[in-house]
Symmetry: C2
Subunit: 387 residues, 2 copies
């Protein structure tokens, strides 16, 4: 186990009906609120009206930024930052999935910074402060509700980059599984792939002696694998939605990576795919992850064998670590496919024309990953395996 620092100050309110706390929660933090959301789904399902009512009951003044897209764009963040600065807004309230939450985090940070918020992503300026952040999650996927990450895309530069900074933990996150009951099947699946991939990034690592971290990760994976078929057979199953939601949060709230050196190469490679092609992040991860696993199998075969035995319950039966690990990787790919995720680039209509530039850009700041350092040629090789 490596030395680590851990502090996660997010206040979580989890469960049926917790959405109605949103007014009092925001009022505790300020009088002027920027309500950030995505497309029309929260208007169609009544969540927009419900949140607005709770805010009005508390006599809060509300501004809005709407139209946040998947793979959220820096333009919308700039729009939010301007509103915050112009009106002295005190609280950014995000109602949506990871894209909306990530946008809100950077809006809140940008509101106290004199320059352009894209500066945070290109290491031109550190995050040094923010206004308050409250979230109401409507999609179980990114873990943004309880972590200090934000990923934003820039259309001009075709970049999709991350800020990881302790300042951008939300103050309060409301996790009401009922708000996810209407998420369509494909988005539900993408979210499940995303949280699964988050666990993988922190489970397949080179750090020795991390038995508790391993068990916690395996527990999250086993729960996701057990509850996904149940959820997909009835998208309105509250208990399944609640379980998957809490899995998504714990998959990336920095707990399971405490003491380990996570890999994250796959995410970096996927970011190039969704920056170039705007495919759903979850879809890209389902395609890249099994190929990355195959590519690095021989570096930590014992870990892949443990994964096969404990998570997929594949018996040892005299197999070598490598053989067993390979079966675990095949089981993973098969499972992604079974739940309806793509596992080849062909399935999402991506050809190989941009592979070299994507490999170049992914490794621009240096090699990727902790399990095996991946250089440009390695990334290119993995992309080719994804065809």
């Amino acid at each position: 186990m490596k030395n680590f620092e851990y502090c996660n100050p997010v206040q979580v309110f989890f469960g049926k009906g917790e959405t109605d706390r949103v007014g009092e929660v925001c009022a505790r933090l300020g009088k002027k609120v920027l309500f950030v959301y995505g497309g029309g789904s929260i208007k169609r399902n009544g969540l927009y009206a419900r949140v607005m009512e709770r805010l009005r009951e508390q006599n809060l003044t509300v501004w809005e930024v709407s139209g946040i897209q998947p793979n959220p764009r820096i333009d919308k963040v700039r729009e939010g930052v301007k509103l915050c600065k112009d009106h002295g807004i005190e609280v950014v309230l995000a109602v949506g999935g990871g894209s909306v939450l990530d946008s809100a985090k950077i809006i809140a940070a940008g509101a106290t910074y004199s320059g352009d918020p894209w500066d945070f992503f290109i290491d031109k300026a550190p995050v040094t402060g923010r206004i308050k952040i409250v979230t109401v999650l409507t999609l179980a996927a990114t873990g943004s509700e309880m972590n200090h990450n934000a990923v934003i895309s820039n259309d001009e530069t075709k970049e999709k980059l991350a800020v990881v900074d302790a300042h951008i933990y939300p103050d309060v996150s409301i996790l009401d599984p009922e708000n996810t009951l209407t998420v369509p099947r494909d988005q539900t699946v993408n979210g499940i792939v995303d949280m699964t991939a988050h666990v993988f990034e922190q489970y397949f690592h080179p750090t020795p002696e991390t038995p508790l971290q391993d068990r916690l990760s395996e527990g999250i994976l086993q729960t996701i694998i057990e509850y996904t078929p149940r959820l997909l057979s009835n998208l309105e199953d509250y208990d399944a939605r609640a379980t998957i939601m809490w899995c998504g949060t714990l998959a990336l709230n920095h707990l399971i990576e405490a003491g380990v050196e996570g890999d994250w190469a796959t995410h970096r490679i996927e970011h190039e795919l969704s920056a170039f092609y705007d495919i759903p992040h979850g879809a890209g991860l389902a395609i890249v992850f099994p190929q990355w696993m195959q590519y690095v199998l021989d570096v930590i075969p014992h870990k892949f064998a443990q994964f096969a035995e404990r998570v997929w319950k594949i018996p040892r039966n005299g197999r070598s670590d490598r053989e067993l690990g390979l079966l675990g990787i095949e089981a993973t790919k098969k499972w992604f496919s079974q739940i309806g995720a793509p596992v080849t680039l062909r399935e999402v209509g991506i050809g190989e024309e941009h592979f070299p530039v994507m490999a170049e850009r992914a490794t621009k700041k240096g090699p990727l990953g902790s399990v095996k350092k991946l250089y440009k040629d390695d990334v290119l090789a993995i992309l080719r395996m994804c065809r």
Copy 2:
């Protein structure tokens, strides 16, 4: 899963050498420090001198309360509170195990309260504030380093009572496994039993649909069971100490109980034993827990069966839940015995003369537990099973 609120703001510094942060950490929070510790062990092993040096480097003014005992007494807390009030102390620094940490938490809360700190335990006054709390853990056991609990004994009234309040989370906890390398075998075992019992209290519960919480609890238990023999075969094994330390913290930092209704009857019964006889808390838990399990088995046989299969790897082989559960309970009792914990009251020299009054007192505020409501006669029956 039940609705829940979760927020754990403790900043943890974990790992080898992190002890040396203690000076800067305290200096960040105040200039006047009350250094709280137990017997002479930290003087003998050099930790006292090391901490003092770090505090002096930061030019902090230090007062001391020493001699905190296992099953810590309210008298020592009162002594600390008086020093804090007399000198305007800003930070309570606890260096020790759960007893020292619990004492420090109540000293810090008492420092901002005009009355007697025992009032917090007898519901005479709520905790409404505190001065800063920093801890350096030297014994993996209670989880006090990352939770909002404190248990204190009162010799006059022969009571051992708990305060559970969000105000008493430490600000910063330094978890340096090297500080536990010299813990003797018997204390190491008591600590391991204590953390195991904490998981049991939150794992055996009546709440349906808690698959993720179950897996996390099982992961902690499996890790403890795997690493305990290794640690007991070499008490100076750093990686084993580190693993057990992190298990102890996660066993009771309120994460695994998020969404479940924990039981805690066994702890309440044990508190009567250690209030009357001053036996180590861990020893009392090893004696009571298997008997409590047996007593409530028929209420949640499926959970005991799951426990036997997943934690003890006992195969189903056509057994009923009850039969399988019973084997799991037997395995638990046998394991406690194997690692050197007592499993009968006879082994610790306790007779049955005080059973009626202990049962009476344990249930004074109402029946115990969530799995099965335990009244006076139930507690009496369990105590008799412990003979």
